[in-house]
Amino acid sequence: MASAIFFLDLKGKPLLSRNYRGDVPMSALDKFPILLLDAEEESSVVPPCFSHEGVNYMYIRHSNLYLLAITKRNSNAAEILLFLHKVVQVLTEYFKVLEEESIRDNFVVIYELLDELMDFGYPQTTETKILQEYITQESHKLEVQVRPPIAVTNAVSWRSEGIRYRKNEVFLDVIESVNLLVSSTGTVLRSEILGSVKLKCYLSGMPELRLGLNDRVMFENNGRSTRGKSIEMEDVKFHQCVRLSRFENDRTISFIPPDGEFELMSYRLNTQVKPLIWVECAMQMHAGSRVEYAIKARAQFKRRSTANNVEITIPVPDDADTPKFRTTVGTVHYAPEKAAIVWKIKHFGGGKEFSMRAELGLPSVKESDPDRKKRPINVKFEIPYFTTSGIQVRYLKIIESKLQYPSLPWVRYITQSGDDYTVRLP
């Protein structure tokens, strides 16, 4: 529950707000920038919710905006913080981008949306597709609308009736992000696969979909011998359209999809992953004169796959200069603003190994504690037509009993580096 919601610029100046309950004095807002600043000075630990003189502040940051909710009650913080993220998502889907300028550019619609997204501080409808049916930027449409879409209060709250496509198609993307942490001694400390099944649905009517995966638990339930590869997902999360009890009972993923793009499910595997791109770094520090790096990168996946847009970022001392590079493949550039050198390889074939040498000059005056700031090497890549876990879409059945149209599902697989694919420097 939130008393009021604010959009603020980075200085903490309010751009637009909605007061839902009127039980917190708006002067509480004036304190927010000061509190943020104070907290930052005291220590660098500013949590996303804190309390000051009886008022509780919960906030998130998005591009050059703060979204802030305040309350005096013991509110459900998980719900409100998530709601703020949802507001960002809805407004982004409405306006393409959400930043300080978009607030003023669209203030009337934002006021309307705020009235619909939340009532008395409780989140209501946050499905963009549904909202767009009765809150639009082109004002002339509004006059036609006499009642809210049934979906707002329906059991199927994410899809409206009467959707029509001439060509019925579903595009299914299986995207796996690999997070990996390698110690300075070369052992894998932590690895996880975060998978996501995204759908682009262009289907008419109210179709019933059923997705079949090579899920080991389901195979075992059905007494099927695990012929071929099956995978064991440690945790699965579903979009609200999926019938959870059905999944609980017999692992069937059945649902009526929202229209357009959405994330159907996400899953996680904690199995030890063999690093797809292995990076070794030898560093030689000649204090006061120069530092040398010898980097080796190896693609440890099958030859028939290729990693694209590989980017290896190696941190260097922030007072380094005069960089010199030598590499057999790709390009290297020095990014002083990040205090790093970036080695880019457009196509990295499976089983290949490349190396790169770099030398940077160092000022003769030593920094007080040069080795202290240890940042890790970061690796980015994407490998199309390949999943690390071996997950496979066995089928996607589409049934619309009234319309009975033929439909085409398309499936794509891709593996990419997650937000934390790092190798610690020695």
Binding site: E101, R104, T126, K237, K374
Partner: protein
């Protein structure tokens, strides 16, 4: 396309001209534009706009939803400044509330219940009765929240009006969204109400769980929240409900997951079968880990709640401590929350990997985080005796970096290690003594001085070291001065010949040249002790070198009663602050377990009438000691420990 142009500062007179102009205005295009400018100026807090109230009233009659919305927004914004004019809008709203379109009925209702004027509050009672039974679920749901708003504005009127019973009726509505809105409204009211309490029986609770899948994600969180008002009367019933809820753990909405965990944890208090409880709570592990890949703010809420859940059931993630290892780019608040959990899950088996990891954190950039990591290493030495040696070696390794704040932090924790394991690991004193120059913080200095005093007999040049510290005695912080005083006396007790000169000097300073009463008192106390017991140095020694109470890190754990309250509040602010609700939220009801035949042990029975009446004086005292006195004493410290396990307190 862009509406930013409307944000030019406008004059009221000019805008009025625009609104009133007789010129042709097809589809009200001109007036729409003008209203946009007015709303934009309102957004910029241009107070001149309030002068346009009567002009806005005229626009409210226009047959355009877009115009209506802007006018109503204006009304909500300025009604307090111009109550008389605002009252003139009342008939318009009352007419709209009977409009054919459910959208307009709901809009008018929402707007009316947002206007904090007595006239509005009174005028809305009758329409609310009607709208609670509206044919459109969208309106009924809006009406449910309308009653909650009315109650917040005027609780007596709301209770007298019979509207609350009306909301109660919504709980048997055909439409799940309406049911959940009714529950949200009732929860909102009963959370604050003195007299009313939400109580849900088995049949109703069972029905609520059944309709959960038919509600949108937010409605699900309302229902989950309301399920906390269901008190199982039978262990089998509680278990069944918990099992029926558990599929919700696969929902993608983090608030639904945490809400489900909250209700299941609550229900376990009424389940008798320990094995069944174990099965239930083990299912929390994977979803909790998955929450760690959500946005940072959500991760933070999840981590704080993980900390609570793991205090009670550490085994559900003990073998997974690695998932809590920090990512390099995590914000500090996430890293610190992870560090607390790593500490909590540390055991002799996983210590090697934890120590390596903490050693890594100690070389990061953020000073606060580095300090906490160092402190955690020291505390682990105390928590897990079998790993103490390894922890100490890691600390010494860190001291060798000679980075000032690391050395200081290490000194402080090593002092505690000495207290926990007296007369062991003394070889490390020499290492510390080589780094005395790095110490400039009072806490670290006091810790070092304590070590020197305690081991004055064994440190070869303890008198010289103390003498060095005493050089700046008068400029030191009181805590250092107190430590120096005690340490010098200890030196004297253990090596009278070496300490004699120093102790006289310090006692003279402490008793004659200070304004601080604590220091003076302690000075006199030692003075008298030394002079009166001079015949018997054994007695002096016993007093000065007496055993200290053992140090534990268990004090960082929440006591069971607080923990129980926290787990009943999973996902809420209380669970993040880790402080009891009545400490932070004025007049809030703190959650407790309702008594029932199925209830296992509880630490917080609800204060029913009878119990309160029957409390006799002695038990009142006991209770006082348990709750209030203890809280008053330990208040700030307890918070530091709970709120931030590895704080600098």
């Amino acid at each position: 396309m862009s509406d930013a142009k409307f944000f030019a500062k406008g004059k009221a007179a000019e805008l009025r001209m625009e609104l009133k102009s007789d010129k042709k205005d097809k589809n009200f295009a001109r007036r729409k534009t003008t209203l946009k400018r007015i709303v934009a100026n309102m957004t910029m807090n241009n107070n001149e706009m309030v002068q346009l109230f009567s002009d806005i009233l005229e626009c409210m009659h226009l047959n355009s939803l877009e115009i209506k919305k802007m006018c109503f927004l204006y009304l909500i914004n300025y009604c307090r400044v111009k109550p008389d004019l605002a009252n003139k809008a009342l008939p318009i709203l009352l007419a709209d509330i009977k409009d054919q379109s459910p959208l307009i009925r709901a809009l008018a209702l929402r707007t009316m219940s947002c206007v904090p004027l007595a006239t509005y509050t009174q005028a809305i009672v009758d329409p609310l009765h009607k709208l609670l039974g509206d044919s459109d679920p969208y309106v009924r749901k809006t009406a449910a929240f309308g009653v909650a708003k009315l109650w917040a504005a005027d609780s007596r009127l709301a209770e007298k009006s019979g509207l609350i019973e009306g909301v109660n009726q919504l709980l048997v509505d055909d439409n799940p969204t309406v049911v959940s809105a009714g529950l949200a409204a009732l929860t909102d009211i009963t959370d604050k109400s003195e007299g009313m309490k939400l109580a849900i029986g088995y049949q109703d609770a069972s029905k609520l769980i059944k309709i959960l899948p038919d509600c949108n994600e937010w409605s699900q969180t309302f229902i989950l929240n309301a399920l906390m008002s269901y008190t199982p009367q039978d262990p089998a019933e509680a278990l069944l409900m918990a099992e029926r809820l558990s599929p919700r753990l696969a929902h993608s909405n983090a608030a639904v997951i945490l809400g489900t965990i909250k209700v299941i944890l609550y229900l376990t208090h009424y389940v008798s079968d320990d094995a069944a409880i174990d099965m239930l709570v083990r299912r929390f592990g994977p979803p909790l880990i998955t929450l760690l890949s959500k946005p940072y703010e959500i991760q933070y809420v999840a981590l704080r709640n993980c900390f609570l859940i793991l205090q009670q059931y550490p085994h559900i993630l003990q073998s997974n401590v690695k998932v809590f290892f920090c990512k390099y780019n995590d914000p500090i608040y996430v890293k610190v929350a992870k560090l607390e959990i790593i500490f909590l899950l540390a055991s002799e088996e996983n210590m090697p990997e934890i120590l390596r990891e903490l050693r890594e954190y100690a070389s990061e950039i953020d000073v606060q985080f580095v300090r906490k990591a160092v402190r955690a290493i020291g505390k682990l030495a105390i928590k897990i005796e079998g790993s103490a040696r390894d922890c100490i070696d890691t600390l010494l390794d860190l001291v060798a970096t000679r980075v000032s704040y690391i050395v200081q932090e290490a000194t402080v924790v090593i002092k505690n290690i000495f207290r926990k394991y007296p007369n062991r690991y003394e070889s490390i004193i020499a290492v510390l003594c080589r780094n005395l120059d790095s110490l400039d913080e009072p806490e670290a200095k006091a810790a070092m001085v304590w070590i020197i005093g305690q081991y004055a007999g064994r440190i070869e040049n303890s008198d010289e070291l103390l003498d060095d510290f005493l050089f700046s005695f008068k400029e030191e912080a009181v805590e250092v001065q107190l430590a120096l005083l005690t340490a010098t006396v200890k030196l004297f007790v253990q090596r009278p010949a070496k300490g004699q000169e120093l102790v006289l000097q310090v006692l003279k300073w402490a008793t004659e040249e200070t304004d601080n009463p604590d220091l003076r008192d302690r000075g006199y106390m030692y003075w008298r002790l030394l002079s009166s017991a001079s015949g018997n140095p054994e007695i002096t020694r016993e007093v000065v070198m007496s055993d200290r109470p053992a140090v534990t890190v268990e004090s960082d754990r929440l006591d069971e009663k607080t923990l129980e309250e926290m787990t009943l509040n999973i996902g809420s602010l209380v669970s993040i602050y880790m402080r009891s609700a009545n400490q932070i939220f004025k007049g809030s009801k703190s959650k407790h377990l309702e008594p029932s035949p199925a209830l296992r042990k509880a630490y917080s029975y609800g204060p029913t009438e009878d119990q309160q009446m029957n409390v006799d004086a002695s038990s009142l005292m006991e209770q006082g000691e348990d709750d209030d006195t203890a809280a008053a004493f330990a208040g700030p410290n307890a918070f530091a420990a709970h709120g931030d396990l590895l704080s600098d307190e």
